[in-house]
Amino acid sequence: MCHTPIWVTHLFLLVQREEKQLEASLDALLSQVADLKNSLGSFIYKLENEYDRLTWPSVLDSFALLSGQLNTLNKVLKHEKTPLFRNQVIIPLVLSPDRDEDLMRQTEGRVPVFSHEVVPDHLRTKPDPEVEEQEKQLTTDAARIGADVAQKQIQSLNKMCSNLLEKISKEERESESGGLRPNKQTFNPADTNALVAAVAFGKGLSNWRPSGSSGPGQPGQPGAGTILAGASGLQQVQMAQAGQTGKMPSGIKTNIKSASMHPYQR
């Protein structure tokens, strides 16, 4: 039986568990970063080699892919099982200007030497001085305007975005159904009937007589009939005249009929 107290064993187990967690999360992080690196590489290749054939949707696709991968990376980092990497410290133990084959293999040929030139770049934890300056500026601005002003700004931005989205979707919908415009008449059914009647039996054209008129060509008014301009007012005048002299044509009717009888019909 060991003389180590219980709390020492518990501590030891805790540390082991943490180490396992750290390793697991490091592996996950590594795979995510590798995916990100691959998609970045393919995007760069696309930009460099296919720039003349590149279309905006294709560029958007690449950006969307990168954005998605960054999102999953963030999720992995925020995962509860991930220990805070902030608490880990990496200290370079040996720096040498000699070529390190192992390192070359691990970094796919990108870092041949673990020397004092490489270390500050690769092991840095702080961002660039300009970036750090900008971030500090932004944080002071955000702190300056106060919480409720910030909230109001957020709300107005959200509202504007939703308005814009609504407008766009409405335009899209309307342009599709814009084909049917019921208020623009392209034909008039009354006109159709008038034209068909004109072609079929001369309704509305000159020499139009009301159906049931007596004999071909009233002898009393040949002039009135032909000068008729087809206006309804004049037609009524003609009919009134026919009514007045109604007695006369009936007498002449039989004569006209016998005259118009075709000789060859006998």
Binding site: L180, Q185, T186, F187, N188, P189, D191, T192, N193, A194, L195, V196, A197, A198, V199, A200, F201, G202, K203, G204, L205, S206, N207, W208, S211, P216, G217, T226, I227, A229, G230, S260, H262, Q265
Partner: protein, 208 residues
């Protein structure tokens, strides 16, 4: 004097009886351009053909109640073209499945003394008009878009006045009797002109 419905008669010889299948509609003046564009796209590819015709309708009144009607048509813009004499029978109604108006049709090309000949035969002119418009063709289908002008002084084709603010649109096929599938083709073509123009079979007797 009217011939019996031709589709019921056996073909015993002589000339084949031709039937005219007809669909009519109209289009307002301001929509004419769009209709012409659509027809140019749908119809056979040819130079847009315009026509200016003067049509005179002659009646021969006999003992029967209904007179015999003949239509004489001459071209006013094409010199030297023959005159066109046409007989159109009564439309055969009753068949609801037939989508077009069908009537017996006889077309004859004549020389220029047609009117004198008809007057000598006893015909009298009933009415006349001037038709001005466009002509399109698609296979055996003929599409005419024309405006009807009333002649103010009889015999004088210069003094004319438009009858309405619309153009008459006619889709017609002249085919031997019995070919009713022609009306199906016509209806399909008419579908493509909607909603600009509604081509339908209009019974002229309803409009008397």
């Amino acid at each position: 004097m009217e011939a019996p419905p031709v589709t019921m008669m056996p073909v015993t010889g002589g000339t084949i009886n031709m039937m005219e299948y007809l669909l009519q509609g109209s289009v307002l003046d301001h929509s004419l351009e769009s209709l012409i564009h659509r027809l140019r796209g749908l119809c056979d590819n040819m130079e847009p053909e315009t026509f200016l015709d003067h049509e005179m309708v002659f009646l021969l009144k006999g003992q029967q109640a209904s007179p015999f009607v003949l239509r004489a048509r001459r071209s006013m813009d094409r010199g030297g073209a023959p005159w066109h004499l046409r007989y159109l029978g009564q439309p055969e109604m009753g068949d609801k499945n037939r989508h077009a108006l069908v009537r017996n049709c006889v077309d004859i090309a004549t020389s220029e003394n047609l009117t004198d000949f008809l007057m000598e035969m006893g015909f009298r002119m009933d009415h006349e008009f001037v038709a001005k418009g466009h002509l399109f063709r698609k296979g055996i289908m003929k599409i005419m878009v024309y405006k009807i002008f009333r002649i103010l002084v009889p015999g004088n084709t210069d003094s004319t006045e438009a009858l309405s603010l619309s153009y008459l649109v006619e889709l017609s096929v002249v085919a031997p009797a019995g070919q009713d599938m022609v009306s199906d083709d016509m209806r399909n073509f008419a579908e493509q002109l909607k909603p600009l123009v509604h081509l339908e079979k209009i019974d002229p007797k309803r409009l008397m």
